[in-house]
Every structure is written in structure tokens, then in C-alpha cells.
Symmetry: C2
Subunit: 335 residues, 2 copies
């Protein structure tokens, strides 16, 4: 499968995630515990990967699987980074408001590219660096509060630790992605086996979070396994399946494409969500959304288009198309 | 002189034009007739060009000067286009508000590039086209009304003829620039002679406007030559000299560089004015101004940087620097 097909699918699914999550509310609030969604999504991903791995194991030759502890022990690391990230995110939000947090989230695009260069030692051209910055600027532009909207003035007025935590948050989020790419590409193990390891630890860490929530809440609503499906409706299940599917696609992209492709995919999804919100929830379109979308599309073209499409290069002299000449001679003889 | 020195000077002078014009107000209003400023600026440009032309004529060999009517009759055309443009601009403003008009003004960047391609047959690379669009997007982004500002909602709500006139206005403004470039480059006449022709007609058309204003106003304040310097102070004179100087620089750029350089120069000036306004008039900086500036700087780099700086091209193998080797050998013998 071509990477851009997977990336496009990821864009569509990620953008529907936001829409579905909004639709899963009843009377403007969530009737279910949102923390159960990522746990169930991990279980879904684990199930799908296990089935696919089993199918592959029955074939010959059997797939490559590194099973020694030295390799397996690396797989909880992305989960651990995400755990730290979630706590930093929580701390950040005590200093800054959600819209400032959202704006700072675009930093992740730049930090991912920086870590991609530093840790994975992948070189980007000058133009690709500019494309990365433009993507971050485009997404930020699209989020600029419209004229007349409420809750103004908060953007440049948060305390300094808020911004520092926001930067740390962007770095951690990027690090988790970069580490996952390193993990999936470091050997030729089958992706399904790598996924099984990733999602097993993912499920464990998500379960730990649910248990922790129980202790924090003093078991007021009973233990997590009793309230697991409380308030679930069809759309909630769609949210779970959708989140699981996007996870599987991200994992595929990390193995066969890279983090930058994933970043473009999810950034485009954010813009698509905003466009869909205009149609579905009659949000008012702003000029800055329109401008941001154009900037992001240009960035996409700048990053992925081959150099000869962008700048005028001396085209290497082609050899004479002899077959074509022969064909036309044939035709003349025929008529 | 290098074109980028002239372009930078144009940026500084154009941006100070806005600042000076604001400073030339007394008690928040203009005490002088603003229509007299461009007329006096034309006279200033005519004087400077005449003096420089005369000096050049005294040298040998004398400069090239085409003096037949067939050539001279082309020189009022830019003034005529500007005259039509001013009327279209006036008509546009009856349909749209000033901030919508300002936003639409950025279209001029794109129309200039289009006419540059069509009429002057100058090819731009794919990347340069993207840079042009990014410049227009960047300047537009910087002008997006901030959250909480007054007079909202008007941007997408003007009647259709307003937008059509805005596009026409952008085309006419670009056409005047492109035509001037064609005029100045069509032969090897000295720039000073070409300027004398341009500004003579410029002065005539500006005078005609002042006369027309007199008739429209019923000579209530007397004929234009009596009220020419009414309410002028030192800053008003600086506005005149500044406008005249920018005109001379633009003319130089049209002859020795091109319209795109001029467009970059004036767009950067607009951003510089906004930055200076923050410092001088304590305007509140917005996130969109910051984003717009970065986009414009990237656009500048994309347009003017040589291809090998932007994309990774195979570098042609260099010949061994033999002279350098010889020098070092010489030195060794000397010591």
C-alpha cells in the first residue's frame, strides 16, 4: 500500500474523531467516562494486531519476531513518555487557558522535525524546514480567535512557567512519536509483533490510569471494570473503533513512512475538522481559517513535491524517443 | 548600486511615510489639503530628475534620449491608469468598508505577478509563484482583526460588486506598475529623461485633479494655488519629500530590477509600519501580525534565494584550487 493512501485515510479518520466525540455527547455533556475510551481502543488495537500476527505465523516462512527481553523492555517507553506528557499537559493547563494551550500545541510540528533530525539523523532540505515552519504557522493562523469572539487577551498574558511547560509538552509529545518510529524501524520484525508489544504495554498503562482514577475518586462510582461501558451508545463505540483504527494507521506510517508524514496527516485532519464543523455545527468560517488552510496546503506541496517541480533545474538531455518514431512510421505505411 | 540596497531604502522610506502622515496630523485631523501632497511630490521628482538629467547632458558622451512624439505619447499612460484606479478605488469604498478594502489590497501582489508573466513575459518558477501567494497571505494574515476589536463581521458581508471592483482595482494598480516597467525598459534611454517625461505628465494630472476638486468644491476655499501650502508644517514637508523620494526609488527599481522587487519592498514596508506603530503609538501586537511577518520573510527567502540554497542539488565537482596550493607553497619557502 502507498503511504499517501494510509496518510489520507488517517486524515479522514482523525478528523472524524473530533466530530464523533462531539456527537457522542448527550444534552451537551459526556454520559460516559472518557478515560475508558483510550483503554478500549488499546484493547481493540491489541486484538486486531494479535489476529493479524497469528494469521501471519501460520504462513511459511514465519515472520521475524525478536522475543528476548532486551528488545521487549523498550516497548513500554512510548507509553511512559505519554504518561509523563499527560501530567505535563495537566500542569500546563493550570497556568494557561485552553486556547493558548491549543495554539502552543502547534509547536509539536517543529519539535517533531527537530527530534527527527537529531535522533533519527534524517536530513531535511532548507525548503523542507521552511515547509515545516509554514505548517506550524498555517495551523496556528487557522486557530487565531476571530474578531468579536469572547475570552480575549489571554494569549500573551499567561505566566512564564505556562509557556515553558507548553514547550516541554510539545517536546515530549514529539519524543514519543520519534521513539516509536525508532522502535518500529530498528529491526525487520513484523509490524504485528511490534504492535502487540506496544499495545500490551499501552493497555496496561491505560488500565493503571483507570485504577488510579478510582483511588483518586474514592471508588464512589465503583471499580473501573464495573463502570467500563456505563453510558456507552453506538457513537461512543464508533469513537473507540475510530481511535483504535487511527492508532493502527499511525503505527503503519511510523514503520513504512515517518513522523513527518504523520504530522502532516494530523495537521490536515485538524483543518478538515474545522471545515466539517462549519458544515455540521454551523460554525462561522473566519478569514484566518481560509488563510491557514492555503498556507498548510502550500507547505504540503513544498515538503513532498520533487525539487524539479519547484525550481527550474537544467533538465538532463533525453535520448531520442525512437520507438515513438517507429510507431508513427508504421501508421503511415498502414493508412 | 545593488538593487537590494535600493529596495531596502524603499522599504524604510515607505514605512516612514505612514508614520509621518500620522504625525503630520494636528489634534487628530489634517490641517492641510492632502491632495496637494502628491502634486508637490511630483514637482519634487521632476526637479530632481531635471537637475540630474542636465548634469548628465553636460558630460560626454551625452545620454541616450528618444524625443519623438511616438515615444513621448506613451508616458502619460501610467498617470491615466492611476486616474482610473483612483476612481475605481473611490467606487469600491462605497460598497466595502476600509478594512475589507485594505485586505483586498493584498490582491495587488498576485495581480502584479500575473501581469508580470503575461505582459512582460517573465517566467517564474513554481516555487516563486508559491512565494508570491505566501506574501499575499502573509500580509493579509497580519491585517486580520484581533479578537475583541470593534467593527466585525463586515469582511464577508459586502455586496458582490464591491468585491468585483476590489479585484478591478488590484488589476489596475498592477497594470500601472507593469506598464511603467515596460516603458522604462523598452529602450536604453537614460532613466532621468524617462523620469522627466513620467513626472511632467504626473504633475499635469495631479494639477488637473486639484482643479477638479476646486470646481467640485465651488471655489469655497479659493483656487488650488492659493491654498497650496495652507496648514503645512515641517512634518508635512517631510511627507512630501518622502513621497517624492520613494517615487524616485520605485522608478529606479522598475528600470534596473522589476515589479516583484517593488512589491516585496512595499509589503515589507507595511509590516515594518505595523511594528513601528506598536513602538511609537503603543498599538497592541497581535499573534496574527507575528505569524504574518514570519510568512512574509519566508516568502522573501523562497523567492530570492538561489535554488541550491533551498533544495539539495548535486553540486558540480569543483576543480582543485591550484592557486591556493601555490600560495601556501610560496609562504612555506618564505618563512
Amino acid at each position: 500500500m502507498q503511504w499517501y493512501v494510509v496518510a489520507s485515510l488517517l486524515t479522514v479518520l482523525t478528523s472524524s474523531q473530533g466530530i464523533l466525540t462531539t456527537l457522542s455527547q448527550s444534552d451537551g455533556s459526556y454520559k460516559y467516562d472518557y478515560a475508558t475510551v483510550p483503554f478500549l481502543a488499546e484493547i481493540f488495537k491489541l486484538l486486531v494486531s494479535s489476529i493479524l500476527l497469528r494469521r501471519e505465523c501460520l504462513r511459511s516462512p514465519p515472520p521475524l519476531m525478536t522475543t528476548d527481553w532486551k528488545s521487549i523492555r523498550l516497548y513500554p517507553i512510548p507509553s511512559i513518555i505519554y504518561l509523563i506528557h499527560n501530567n505535563v499537559q495537566f500542569a500546563t493547563l493550570t497556568y494557561v487557558d485552553t486556547s493558548t494551550y491549543q495554539i502552543m500545541g502547534n509547536l509539536k510540528i517543529v519539535t517533531t522535525a527537530v527530534l527527527f533530525r537529531l535522533f533519527l539523523r534524517r536530513k531535511l532540505s532548507n525548503l523542507q524546514w521552511m515547509a515545516i515552519f509554514l505548517l506550524a504557522i498555517g495551523t496556528t493562523t487557522s486557530q487565531v480567535k476571530g474578531c468579536g469572539e469572547t475570552s480575549c487577551d489571554s494569549l500573551f498574558s499567561s505566566p512564564i512557567p505556562g509557556y515553558m511547560l507548553g514547550v516541554l509538552s510539545a517536546c515530549l509529545s514529539a519524543l514519543a512519536g520519534i521513539y516509536t518510529e525508532f522502535l518500529l524501524k530498528k529491526n525487520n520484525d513484523t509490524l504485528y509483533w511490534q504492535n502487540v508489544q506496544l499495545y500490551t504495554f499501552g493497555a496496561i498503562f491505560n488500565m493503571a490510569r483507570l485504577i488510579l482514577d478510582d483511588f483518586r475518586g474514592g471508588f464512589e462510582e465503583g471499580p473501573w471494570w464495573q463502570r467500563l461501558f456505563n453510558g456507552y451508545n453506538v457513537i461512543t463505540w464508533m469513537v473507540v473503533l475510530n481511535l483504535g483504527s487511527t492508532g493502527l494507521l499511525v503505527s503503519w506510517l511510523m514503520k513504512y513512512a515517518d513522523n513527518i508524514v504523520k504530522v502532516y496527516s494530523t495537521s490536515m485532519a485538524m483543518l478538515l475538522t474545522m471545515i466539517l464543523s462549519i458544515i455540521l455545527f454551523s460554525f462561522k468560517p473566519t478569514l484566518q481559517l481560509f488563510l491557514g488552510i492555503i498556507v498548510c496546503i502550500m507547505s504540503l506541496h513544498m515538503y513532498f513535491a520533487p525539487a524539479h517541480m519547484l525550481v527550474d533545474l537544467p533538465v538532463p538531455a533525453k535520448t531520442a524517443p525512437e520507438t515513438l518514431v517507429e510507431v508513427s512510421v508504421d501508421r503511415k505505411t498502414d493508412s
